[in-house]
Amino acid sequence: MQVKINGAVAEIPDNHSIDDLLLARKLPRDIVIIELNGEIIKRENWESLKLNPSDSLEIIRIIGGG
């Protein structure tokens, strides 16, 4: 199915959870924050929450900045 990740269309398997996605993209879960369709998703829900077609996901992390 197709979802949007950080503004770009991406193809991911059906029934993928946020944790599945992070694992597939090799992103450690403790360094990112997830926003799904404009809402922040708490870490404790990343395992259970399944993504749906057309979902828009933002994967954000902290970097150096002034």
């Binding site: 990112v32 924050i33 954000i60 970097i63 150096g64």
Partner: protein, 257 residues
């Protein structure tokens, strides 16, 4: 002499705040923080870049600092509010530097949108420190909206040009009953000392340290300059004169007449 800075009731031990952008290598950051003795440290939030391996930036920061994420990238109040809420999800605390910028040439902040963002975020329990163009009325609105400190710019971000807005910042220091922290434009330790001598509560420095040939040594120099400037302010400098006033007595000279 007891001289402590408090922001939103929290004691801050160093009047030098530092930013973590533009460093050639994150590995420099622990030594920079140590050398500068800074306690408040800014970071930014960005989308993950899938093209490059991700590093946990936070692991370079000592645990006892106050982390202050900024809302850089926000062009209006709504975007700043969104970024602030995301920042809080990182578990790094409630401090946030509001930065709302839509002018891409001078990166001058939008004071009007900043006030709107402060109103919302202060009610949500954030400790809000707005980056702003030094303007007395805007600073008053920000204080009323719940800002914990006011951070006027000395000159545009990253320019290293010093405190070009000196007169306006001096007015904020005298009229606003909140810590005034000079943010942006400070390029030399002498300029940080100047801000402190003016009575600023603190300064925020990033580019000047990060782009120095030896950032760790420059961080130490800034730390000392901020301490020196603060002590000079507290000591009450003497007045200036148009003509000379001898330092040594004008009597008892060792000459014949």
């Amino acid at each position: 002499m007891e001289d402590k800075l408090y922001i939103a009731g929290r004691q801050v031990d160093s009047r030098l705040f530092i930013g973590t952008g533009k460093f050639a290598d994150y590995n420099l950051i622990p030594a920079v923080i140590k050398a500068s003795k800074a306690q408040v440290v800014t970071v930014a939030l960005r989308r993950v870049d899938f093209g490059t391996p991700e590093e946990n930036m936070l692991k370079y920061l000592p645990p006892d600092i106050i982390l202050m994420p900024n809302t850089s990238g926000a062009r209006n109040a709504a975007e700043a509010i969104r970024i602030a809420r995301i920042a809080r999800e990182t578990g790094c605390g409630d401090w946030v530097k509001i930065e709302v910028i839509s002018d891409q040439k001078y990166l001058l902040p939008d004071n009007f949108e900043t006030v709107k963002a402060i109103e919302v975020l202060a009610k949500e329990g954030f400790v809000v420190l707005p980056y702003m163009s030094p303007d007395l009325m805007a600073a008053k609105r920000m204080a009323e909206a719940g800002a914990a400190a006011i951070m006027p710019l000395g000159s545009p971000i990253g320019t290293n040009r010093g405190i070009k807005t000196r007169e306006l910042i001096q007015i904020l220091i005298s009229e606003i009953n909140l810590p005034i922290i000079v943010d942006a434009g400070i390029g030399r330790p002498s300029e940080a000392a100047e801000a402190m001598e003016m009575g600023a509560a603190a300064v925020l420095v990033n580019t000047a340290i990060a782009t120095a040939e030896n950032p760790v040594l420059m961080a130490e120099a800034f730390g000392q300059a901020v301490e020196a400037g603060r002590k000079a302010y507290l000591s009450g400098p003497g007045s200036t004169q148009r003509v000379a006033e001898a330092s040594s007595p004008l009597t008892g000279f060792l000459r014949k007449e």
